[in-house]
């Protein structure tokens, strides 16, 4: 049924990419979600729609948009090329694609989680003399934590499984930009069904375990 996997590169790259993009997503997404959860400003709906867009657009469209930006003749790509930096068809592009596509999942979960925290708790902390940073880390974040973890898991899974945008901006270069999903596609394409099966099994079992663990953890948090 399964063959010994000869090339572990796609598995390692996928995991590495997923971890790095989730890190970037948390770093940018949490402050943004916190801001959007409580502030009202002119044009907020517009910004929100733009942030959520990669979630609903076909990944090939996101990939195309990224090419327009970081491609060799792209808006940013040209400047970077002048500095001797190429992003397209490197593993950085894989990270970028995964980050952009998975970002809305983290953002949406975190925003909902922050909004679910009773405002009066933050106000109470303020009247007790706590500064905004302390309030965030001692009141808001701990109470929003379950929702944030859900966002982390969802975005991790999405980053791990990213296919369309990745293929467009990073291609499928074995040993360089080949991830589990692209490796599966091209294995099937070239009739290497056994290699595909092994990768499918790996990603399925891994994803299952992550979701299983998070659900159990979430249940424990309630008690």
């Amino acid at each position: 049924m399964f063959t010994q996997l000869t090339d572990w590169f796609p598995v390692l790259l996928s995991l590495r990419v997923a971890f790095i993009s989730v890190f970037i997503i948390s770093f940018l997404g949490l402050p943004l979600a916190r801001l959007m959860a409580r502030r009202e400003f002119y044009g907020k709906e517009f910004v929100e729609a733009a942030i959520t867009l990669p979630l609903v657009l076909p990944p090939s469209v996101v990939g195309y948009a990224l090419l327009v930006v970081i491609g060799k003749n792209g808006l940013l790509g040209k400047t970077l090329a002048g500095m001797g930096i190429t992003l397209v068809f490197t593993w950085y592009a894989v990270v970028l694609a995964a980050t952009v596509v998975a970002f809305p999942l983290m953002y949406q979960s975190a925003k909902a989680a922050f909004q679910s925290v009773d405002v009066n708790l933050e106000k109470a902390a303020r009247t007790l003399g706590a500064g905004e940073v302390r309030i965030f880390f001692t009141v808001t974040l701990p109470l929003a934590w379950p929702g944030i973890v859900a966002g982390l898991v969802l975005s991790f899974a999405r980053a791990l499984g990213e296919f369309g945008a990745t293929l467009m901006v990073a291609g499928n270069i074995p040993g360089q930009t080949q991830t589990i999903p692209t490796a599966i596609y091209f294995a099937v394409e070239s009739g290497r069904n056994e290699a595909a099966r092994t990768l499918v099994a790996i990603i399925t079992v891994f994803s299952f375990l992550v979701i299983f663990w998070v659900n159990r953890w979430a249940k424990k948090q309630k008690h």
């Binding site: 009066n120 106000k123 902390a125 303020r126 003399g129 706590a130």
Partner: protein
């Protein structure tokens, strides 16, 4: 900060040839005073109030949606008024004319929230110590020991419980201890008895009276309950659509009578 009653015993031979000790009791009443004049445009009406409170219980009484909670928020600095000022003991906390707006963190105004707003993920101990950790870094005046406060409220044994394990009355006491632990100059109470049953309510009202007598700072209490108003209000502001209908002490006589009846009963 505290109103102090200092008893000085003088042995004045010149005036008291019989060598009788003359006891002079000098009251150094440091009057805590809050004055506020506030306007703010709200959804359906414009809030426009002006009042002064000494070491008294001021009651904001009115139907829901009459702007009571908004006034508390404006005093605490959680909301910003359109114009006016807030002054506590001659210190301006807010003034649109002088462009002063002290942050809620630095106002030193205690706030007991409706439903108490205890931090659900912290134990009672962590809740009541929360404010002290902020104060310590500022090196302010000596603070109150929250554990002693809890003991005096009869809930000292609940230190390691979580808020969800407490009854309404217990939550209220913990929230009071948390607010008072940072030694506020004014205490705001938003519907303090709304989350407890009728029987507990009567007891808590008496405790609050007693507490006010101990602390001697202005208490501003929001309620829509007439019994609260008659029992607790030294002064009552009747709010209707953001305006003061009358500033009345008419409840006071009744309240005093009630209090006299209950003095023996008051036990903290």
């Amino acid at each position: 900060m505290w109103s102090m009653a200092v008893s000085i015993i003088l042995f004045s031979e010149a005036e008291n040839p019989g060598n009788l000790p003359m006891i002079i009791t000098a009251f150094y009443e440091v009057i805590q005073l809050l004055e506020a004049q506030l306007t703010k445009k709200l959804w359906h009406f414009k809030l426009d109030v002006h009042f002064k409170v000494k070491n008294q219980i001021l009651l904001l009484w009115g139907h829901s949606g009459s702007g009571k909670t908004t006034i508390l928020h404006l005093l605490a600095g959680l909301l910003q008024p359109d114009s006016g000022f807030v002054k506590v003991n001659e210190r301006l906390l807010y003034s649109d004319a002088e462009k002063i707006n002290v942050s809620p963190q630095a106002r030193n105004i205690g706030y007991l929230f409706q439903e108490y707003a205890l931090f659900p993920h912290m134990t009672v101990r962590q809740n009541v110590f929360y404010g002290l950790k902020c104060k310590k870094c500022k090196g302010d005046e000596p603070l109150v020991d929250p554990v002693e406060l809890l003991n005096s409220f009869g809930v000292g044994h609940l230190l390691d419980r979580y808020p969800r394990q407490l009854s309404g009355g217990e939550k209220q006491r913990v929230a009071l201890a948390r607010a008072l632990a940072v030694r506020p100059r004014v205490l705001l109470l938003d519907e303090p008895f709304s989350a407890v049953d009728k029987k507990t309510r009567v007891g808590l009202r008496k405790e609050l009276r007693k507490l006010h007598e101990q602390w001697q700072i202005p208490f501003i209490l929001v309620t829509h309950d007439e019994e609260d108003a008659s029992y607790l209000g030294d002064e009552v502001i009747h709010l209707e659509k953001g305006r003061m209908r009358d500033l009345t002490t008419s409840f006071t006589g009744y309240a005093r009578g009630l209090r006299a009846d209950n003095t023996a009963y008051v036990q903290m």
